[in-house]
Amino acid sequence: MSISMAAMFSASASLAPSSSHWYTHKPLFSLGPRRQSSVILAAASGDNGGSGVAISVAEQTPKVEAANGSVASASASASGEEEASVAVLNSFKDPRWVNGTWKLKQFEKDGKTDWDAVIDAEVRRRKWLEDNPESSSNDNPVVFDTSIIPWWAWMKRFHLPEAELLNGRAAMIGFFMAYFVDSLTGVGLVDQMGNFFCKTLLFMAVSGVLLIRKNEDIETIKKLIEETTFYDKQWQATWQDDIRKD
C-alpha cells in the first residue's frame, strides 16, 4: 500500500524535491514511537541521505526502523548530524507547554504570573509554527486561548507604549500649531479653542495622528476605502448595462 501511495503521490504532486523534503525526513526520524510504526504518506526525495530514505520508504514498516538505524550509523557524521538535528526540530517543544496550553504555574515570578513571559512564549510558539507548520493532532490538541491573559497585561505591554508615542506626536503638533496660529493671527490658546476653524484643525490633527502612524498608512487607508465598495460595484455592474441600453 505504501508503494502505490508513494507512486500516486509523486505522480500527482509533481514538485521540486526540496518541497517534499520534510515528508521524507520528518516521519522517518521522528521521536514519537507512534509515528515510526505507521505507514508514511511521502514521496522519495533526492536530498542527501535521500537515497537511503528512498530504499526504506518502499519497504514495510518494520524494515523502516532497521533502515533508519543503518542509515544513521553508516552515514558520515555531517549528514548524520544534519538528520539528527532535523529530528530535534520536528515539533514545538517547550517544558512549559503542557497538554496543548501554557502551564501558568511555570511562569510565576514573586508569587504572581508573569504575563509578559507568557506572551513571549506564545509569540515564540507562533513564530515557530509559522516557519515549521505542524500537523494538528487529536491526541495533543491545542487549547490555548489568548483571552486568559488579562486585559491589563495587554494594555501595559502593547497599548501604553503606542499611546505614549501618539500622545507625544499630538502634543508636539499641538504646541507648534498653537504657536503658529498665535503668531499669525494673534489669537491666544484659550481664544483659539473657541473658534470653529481652530477646532476643525484640532480634530484633523488628532485624527491624522491616530490614523496615519506610518508613511504607508496613507496608501493603506485609500485602498481600504476602495475595498469597502468594490464588491458592491461588482454586483451593480449588470445594472449599468440596463441604463446604457436606452
Binding site: S12, R126, T146, D232
Partner: protein, 484 residues
C-alpha cells in the same frame, strides 16, 4: 423588509450592521423605478437621477408581449447541474417547452458537496442522496488551536454532504419527469436574433449512443436561454458577459483506514493559515467512503500545489495511511460577472458567479437562482403563452439581488476582515469558540435567513471580536520583532 433587518442582526458588530442597513435601504429605494407596463405601444420617459448613487433608477421603456399563437414558449437551459436541473424543472412545471443540454450526464464535478438544511426542504430532496450528515465542524488556526463548533445544533439540523453526480442526476431526472427534454450534447455557440422576438439559434453537438463517438452537429431555435453551464460558461462568452476573478480549488480524494474514517463520521474540518492558503482555507470533508482534502486560492494560483502539501501536512496525523484515489481541481468564481443578462439570455449559478465569499458555497445558490430565473420566465410569459423580453428576465435579477445581496455582502466583509492575515485567522478561530457566534453562523448558513440576534449580545460580540483581532495582531508584531 424583515429579511434585511433580520439579516442585519447577523454576525459581527452592531456598527457593521447599522452601516449595512443604511446601504441596503439606499440600494433598494432606487429599484422602485423599475416598472413593467402592460400596455403595448406606450413609450415611457426614462428618468435618470442627477447623481450616481449605488444604482441608477430606470423606468422600462416599452414592452411588446405578443401572444404566441400556436405554440408554447421555448426555453433552452444550457448545463445540467443544480442550477440547470432546477431551472428546467420549474420551467417544465410552468408549461414552458424546455430543453436541457448537458455535456456529460455522469459528470463528477469536483466539489465540496455541502448543502444546507433548507435546500433539502425547499427542493424536496430525498434523504437517500445525502451521503453524510455533518453535525460538527472543527476550525484549526495557524497555530493549531482547534475549536469545535456545532454544539448549538439541534438534533435534526445538519449539513448534508452529497455526491454531485447523484444530486445532479436526480434534479435532471425530475426535470425530465416534469416534461423537460434532456439532451446529451455540448453547446458550441448561439446566433443572436436579428429582429425583435426572433428566436435564438443554438448550435450544439449531440452525443448519441456510441461511446467516443464524435457526435453530430445540430441546431435548435429557442425564444430564451438560461446559461447554467458553470464557471467556464460558454453562454456567458456568447453574450459578452465579461470575466470575473476566480479561485482555484484543488482537491485530493483520499481513502483512509476505517478507524480514521470513524473520526470523520459526521465531522468536517477547516484549516486556516498562510501556509494552507493566503486568502482561503484548506478543508477535509468526509464523502461517502473517503475524505476530500483540498485548498484554494485566488491570488497565488501558481502555488496551489504547495498549499495542498501544507494542507496534507496539517491533517497528516488524521489521514495517515491514506491512499489518494483522485486528484481534481476547478475554478470557483469570486463575484458575479459584469453582465448577467443580455436580451433574453440569463445566467444562473456559477455561470453568473453566485458563489459566496468566505465559505465558497455555491450549490444552494445555483439551484435557487435557476429556480428564480425560471419562475420569472414562467411569470413573464404567463405560463408559456406569451413571449418574454429582457425586462421579465431582469425581474429575476432584481429579486435575486434583493434577497441575497445582504448575505453575500456580510460574507464578503467576513472574508476581508478574517482571512486577511495569520493574526486575523487566529482571531477568527478564537471567535468561533463563542456560542453566540456558532448559533448565528449555523442559523444563517442552514436556513439562509437570520433570526434577529440580541443587540446586547451583538455588542458583546463586537467587543470580543475587536479584542481577539487586537491581541492576535499584537502577538504578530512581537513575532516580527523576533525575526528581525
Amino acid at each position: 423588509m424583515s429579511s434585511e433587518s433580520a439579516l442585519s442582526a447577523h454576525l459581527l458588530s452592531s456598527l457593521f450592521l447599522s452601516v449595512l442597513e443604511t446601504m441596503a435601504s439606499v440600494v433598494l429605494k432606487t429599484f422602485a423605478g423599475l416598472r413593467r407596463s402592460s400596455d403595448n405601444s406606450h413609450q415611457f420617459p426614462v428618468q435618470k437621477p442627477a447623481k450616481v448613487h449605488f444604482r441608477k433608477a430606470r423606468i422600462v421603456a416599452s414592452r411588446t408581449c405578443p401572444k404566441l399563437s400556436n405554440r408554447n414558449l421555448r426555453v433552452a437551459v444550457i448545463g445540467g447541474g443544480p442550477a440547470g436541473g432546477s431551472a428546467a424543472e420549474t420551467l417544465a412545471k410552468g408549461g414552458v417547452e424546455t430543453i436541457l443540454i448537458e455535456r456529460k450526464l455522469d459528470n463528477c464535478k469536483p466539489c465540496g458537496g455541502a448543502i444546507p438544511l433548507c435546500m433539502v426542504g425547499e427542493f424536496n430532496l430525498p434523504l437517500d442522496i445525502i451521503d453524510r450528515k455533518v453535525t460538527k465542524m472543527k476550525m484549526i488556526s495557524p497555530s493549531n488551536v482547534a475549536v469545535d463548533i456545532g454544539r448549538t445544533l439541534k438534533p435534526y439540523e445538519y449539513i448534508g454532504m452529497v455526491r454531485r453526480e447523484i444530486l445532479d442526476a436526480y434534479l435532471r431526472d425530475r426535470a425530465a419527469e416534469n416534461g423537460a427534454k434532456v439532451i446529451n450534447g455540448l453547446f458550441m455557440k448561439m446566433d443572436m436574433p436579428k429582429v425583435q422576438n426572433a428566436p435564438y439559434v443554438l448550435h450544439y453537438t449531440e452525443y448519441t449512443g456510441t461511446k467516443g463517438g464524435v457526435g453530430e452537429k445540430k441546431t435548435v431555435e429557442v425564444d430564451a436561454v438560461i446559461g447554467a453551464d458553470g464557471a467556464n460558461s460558454k453562454v456567458a462568452k456568447s453574450i459578452n458577459a465579461g470575466d470575473y476573478e476566480y479561485a482555484i480549488a484543488f482537491q485530493e480524494r483520499i481513502k483512509i483506514p476505517d478507524e480514521k474514517m470513524a473520526y470523520y463520521e459526521n465531522l468536517a474540518e477547516m484549516y486556516v493559515g498562510d501556509d494552507v492558503s493566503p486568502d482561503f482555507y484548506g478543508w477535509v470533508f468526509p464523502k461517502c467512503d473517503h475524505v476530500a482534502v483540498g485548498t484554494g486560492t485566488v491570488t497565488h494560483k501558481g502555488d496551489i500545489k504547495k498549499f495542498q502539501l501544507a494542507t496534507l501536512n496539517r491533517a497528516k496525523d488524521k489521514i495517515l495511511g491514506g491512499q489518494i484515489i483522485r486528484v481534481e481541481a476547478h475554478p470557483i468564481p469570486e463575484h458575479p460577472r459584469p453582465r448577467r443578462l443580455s436580451g433574453r439570455v440569463a445566467l444562473v449559478g456559477d455561470a453568473a458567479g453566485y458563489v459566496t465569499k468566505c465559505s465558497g458555497e455555491g450549490i444552494y445558490f445555483a439551484a435557487k437562482s435557476g429556480r428564480m430565473c425560471a419562475e420569472a420566465i414562467v411569470e413573464g410569459s404567463e405560463n408559456g403563452k406569451r413571449m418574454v423580453d429582457e425586462s421579465d428576465l431582469r425581474k429575476y435579477l432584481k429579486k435575486w439581488d434583493k434577497t441575497y445581496w445582504p448575505t453575500y455582502k456580510v460574507l464578503d466583509v467576513l472574508q476581508k476582515v478574517f482571512y486577511r492575515s495569520n493574526p486575523a485567522k487566529e482571531a477568527f478561530v478564537e471567535m468561533c469558540a463563542d456560542e453566540y457566534v456558532q448559533k448565528m453562523t449555523f442559523d444563517s448558513y442552514l436556513y439562509k435567513t437570520v433570526t434577529p440576534g440580541n443587540p446586547l449580545d451583538d455588542l458583546k460580540l463586537a467587543f470580543n471580536t475587536i479584542g481577539s483581532l487586537v491581541r492576535a495582531n499584537a502577538l504578530r508584531r512581537e513575532m516580527e520583532k523576533l525575526s528581525s
